[in-house]
Subunit: 218 residues, 2 copies
């Protein structure tokens, strides 16, 4: 049997196992009225910085939690913990994405009835996390203006699946050769309905609209 | 049989098949005296821009070629072709990395005896390409100062395997919260011998040292 013929069925099996677990997570989140958002981007696009800004903007009573994924280190969890909301780090020990099993395991022992909003910060990778449903209500893709406006065309998978594209680091626009209109047109050419917003975690620009979007339905 | 117990041997088989093909590529490159460099980074760290600068700095007689990998589009090949050197695009159609089989196939019909230097621009992904030997003499990791100085700790695999770390977009240093000394210390903590240089593809700063490094041994 060649590698090709063995490989396809196994990938399907792994993904369908993931889909089964993700469906269980989605049902569980729905039962508890939890809005779960899955943040996906390249390394260094500002996922953790956006979550720091977001947690910092919440009143202490807001029922929000974060799962943050990395291949190594618990640096992100430590950055996010100081806002006083529950945070857990998932260290994938080499895996290039989070999967539904990791999320299920990380949620063990949590009182889901006490949550309204759950952020999942995926591993920094614009490719692989796209294929793994985590039970979220929406995928959010972040694209830093330092990365280039052609990224939606070169990594179409995530821009097709995301409900929202957040253009980050817009304070850098004067210093980088990023064509904003082209970035938006490129994303819309992959998915006409994608919502788009622009933020700077440094200056705070655009964060109000982001917070409105996050709070939708909770 | 559980997913876990089937998954490990198949990954091993795929990787050992890759290692076999990569060893063949490496022997072929050695036979023709080709220096092959495998460029790996996040999306948007400046791999294509660095190659544009590099090709632009070569005299027309230099025997250099480029293989450039992307999930979709041949945009990078089109950017690079105008320097007059041979360029081929590898479109992976979803795969998150290049493998040795793709490189072997892309080189079919090329006169390797006519080459001294081959750049392989990998898919933009700081994780998966690390595991796939392409027969290169060195992996080069690019890290943009817009991405953050903790990346070597969070993605240690590539910083452990790369011979050289190129810190890119240093013209942005005044505008981003990037701690250069920490980035260097973090990379060295993963691999004490890693060579490190700083470049800006915008201003041209640091490119002379890069060109010297590239030309080593050809």
């Amino acid at each position: 049997m060649s590698n090709t013929t063995t490989k396809v069925p196994l990938e399907r099996k792994v993904l369908s196992e993931n889909d089964r677990l993700a469906a269980e997570l989605r049902a569980e989140f729905a039962r508890h009225g939890i809005r779960c958002l899955n943040l996906i981007s390249s390394p260094g696009s500002g996922k953790t910085a956006l979550l720091e800004r977001t947690l910092g903007a919440f009143d202490p009573g807001v029922r929000v939690a974060v799962l943050t994924g990395d291949i190594q280190t618990d640096a992100d969890a430590r950055r996010l913990e100081r806002y006083g909301f529950p945070v857990r780090q998932i260290t994938t020990a080499g895996a290039c994405h989070l999967d539904a099993r990791m999320v299920t395991k990380a949620l063990e022992g949590w009182d889901l009835a006490a949550l309204d909003l759950l952020f999942i910060e995926n591993v920094g990778n614009l490719v692989c996390p796209t294929s793994y449903d985590l039970g979220e209500v929406a995928k959010v893709v972040l694209l830093s203006v330092a990365e280039g406006e052609e990224k939606p065309l070169k990594y179409p998978g995530i821009f097709f699946k995301a409900k929202l594209m957040v253009l980050t680091k817009i304070d850098l626009l004067p210093y980088v050769p990023f064509r904003l209109d082209d970035a938006i047109a490129n994303a819309r050419s992959i998915q006409p309905d994608i919502e788009i917003m622009q933020v700077s975690n440094t200056t705070g620009e655009g964060l109000e609209k982001w917070m409105e979007w996050v709070r939708r339905g909770i």
